[in-house]
Symmetry: C2
Subunit: 365 residues, 2 copies
């Protein structure tokens, strides 16, 4: 029964001890819990001298507010939940960095859960985070078809969708302008004389890789493919299915997919890839097939990484404002938490950075 500090010499939070409670601080300072709370919390009126006594007592006992108890009382945890496919993926880790830092800045901590884009795990993640009573949720939804668990009648929690829209789920969403990004990339390729253009598209909706567009792809993917198709058509060209592949998000699958594009008798002279992993796969395939990037095959990829500009040739990219995206997601969410206001969808512009991986083939036909 004597699991609490009993002797004065025992102050200071030694190893085996339980953390000091407010009442211990209050006792030591000879005030009531209410007064101690006021002194420490900095609200209400407290005599300056009393405040000092409490402060001293608190630090003597190495007192730390119990945020669990406070959360219970207030009904808010100052914690937000983030549900994404894979934190080790290059896109998500930049986004999360922004989310954690922005959240910390306004007094929230972040719980992260990976789903590998499997809906069942996403549902489970949302359940766990709901039970933990996070104040809000940032989710990169894995499927545009199964989203009941995110709908307002199942989820009574502020919610922001990250990177992917869900038509039919009218909630705050922050994305980049993927359609325009794809259009600009294709336009550059065409301007340089390319007409035979391939697409290597990351999609969790596929096993290994596939020639055909899966039934349900996330809006990001959808938009990019549609954008590419539009840009081609506008120039009187067509995207040939033989040069389009949907691949699982890992480099191994991407490599196989890329080989199946570039290994054909008739192969494209340029390829647009949708992320770092796809770009790696394309590079690996070129290696295998003895094709030179920026010569035999030109390349533009979505997203940017430190090594893209160090590679030989330096890789041209559609750079997305990932940090800003994460930041915007938190800003929207916190606004929603505090005011209940749900804003307009936010779409951030991306920027084409032309480096050295796109060969000019004008007049070489």
């Amino acid at each position: 029964m004597s699991r609490r500090v009993e002797k004065v010499e025992d102050l200071g939070g030694k190893p085996g001890e339980k953390a000091a409670r407010l009442i211990e601080v209050a006792n030591l300072a000879n005030v009531s819990r209410a007064t101690a709370a006021r002194a420490l919390g900095g609200y209400g009126r407290v005599n300056e001298d009393t405040r000092r006594r409490v402060t001293v007592a608190a630090s003597a006992l190495n007192y730390r507010t119990n945020e669990v108890a406070r959360a219970m009382r207030h009904g808010r945890t100052s914690t937000i939940g983030v549900v994404i496919a894979d934190i080790s993926n290059s896109f998500f880790n930049s986004a999360i960095r922004a989310i954690i830092d922005t959240a910390a800045h306004v007094g929230y901590q972040v719980l992260v859960i990976n789903t590998d884009d499997e809906v069942e795990r996403e549902i489970e993640a949302v359940r766990v985070l709901t039970e933990k009573r996070v104040d809000g949720l940032i989710v990169a939804p894995s499927s545009p078809a199964r989203y009941q668990h995110l709908a307002a009648d199942h989820l009574a929690l502020p919610l922001v969708l990250l990177d992917r829209r869900i038509p039919g789920l009218p909630v705050d969403t922050v994305t980049t302008d993927d359609r325009r990004g794809a259009i600009e990339a294709i336009d550059l390729l065409i301007a340089r004389g390319h007409t035979k253009i391939g697409l290597l598209v990351a999609s969790a909706a596929v096993r290994n890789y596939s020639r055909n567009q899966p039934e349900f792809v996330v809006s990001t993917t959808q938009d990019r493919v549609a954008g590419a198709r539009f840009a081609m058509a506008r120039s009187g060209l067509a995207l040939r299915d033989a040069w389009v592949r949907y691949s699982e998000g890992n480099v191994t699958s991407a490599t196989e997919a890329a080989v199946s594009i570039l290994g054909q008798k008739s192969r494209p002279t340029a390829v647009l890839t949708t992320n770092e992993e796809m770009a790696c796969g394309l590079l690996a395939a070129c290696r295998q097939l003895n094709l030179l990037i920026g010569k035999d095959v030109s390349l533009i990829s979505f997203d940017d990484w430190p090594w893209a500009s160090v590679f030989a040739p330096a890789i041209s990219v559609v750079k997305r404002p990932i940090y800003d995206l994460g930041k915007a997601a938190v800003t929207q969410l916190v606004l929603q938490i505090k005011t209940g206001a749900t804003g307009k969808p936010i779409e951030l512009p991306s920027r084409l950075i032309d480096r050295e991986s796109v060969l000019d083939v004008k007049g070489k036909k």
Copy 2:
């Protein structure tokens, strides 16, 4: 006052509503809270029929356990805190992926905080996580000198150190064998005939970059440099200070540091870099100086990334078992949480992968 469900038609957790509480489930099922808790929690004895009624009531109300209340009651949150330098850094994001997944597997969620290797932020992070009453902490300590906030008399929480030992802080620690990793790398270089060897070392203890070893570097860095020095000495060679640089962790600083090594009249023929960012910097410098990797300058780097094997030439690396490292950290921590047992320090072996970036210069002297 009527903020609770009052009409039967209102069931199901509509938007504005507060989450259903246990007592509401109990009422709907016509049992007491205790019985409802037993039925839902699956402990104690409950009549099968009663259980069913409770289950039905719970799902009708879309009831979710309030883990905050449960945490309050039990004194544990099923949450662990992770304090690292930067989640977008290639090493940490792999480690975190392992940590989150392993933790989820045994029923814990993860709060992540970035410090950018600034001790003040580390101290603050530990404070916040302590207040949130996490059950344990995984920390990659930023300084081997300032660690009072992690010492047992300040921190009454299970703790595991990740990737970096702190002499003088005898707590569970999981690291890789960095000394041996460096030795093997240097030995390979020497075996291929290199004698003029440089070092590009990431260190947060430095601004931009520096020729001299900062006063306090983390054990990881310390071990690698010592290992390299040892391997050189064993072969009768010396590490020349002129070819050693300590750089801030970003590619920009690394590039400048690398240029300052390779731009000298007398430059090394091989360089060992300590992570992806340093390797990028070296590559960038070679580009600037018109030096060819694997020809003019050979390269081995710590850690491995998808693009390392796709680069031309493919980059040789000391691959560390990062996923296992994160996994081990969680395993140790959970053991500590559950049994109080603190194990032996764990040191995982790394593996040298020789690809194409080390030129054989034997006999070419």
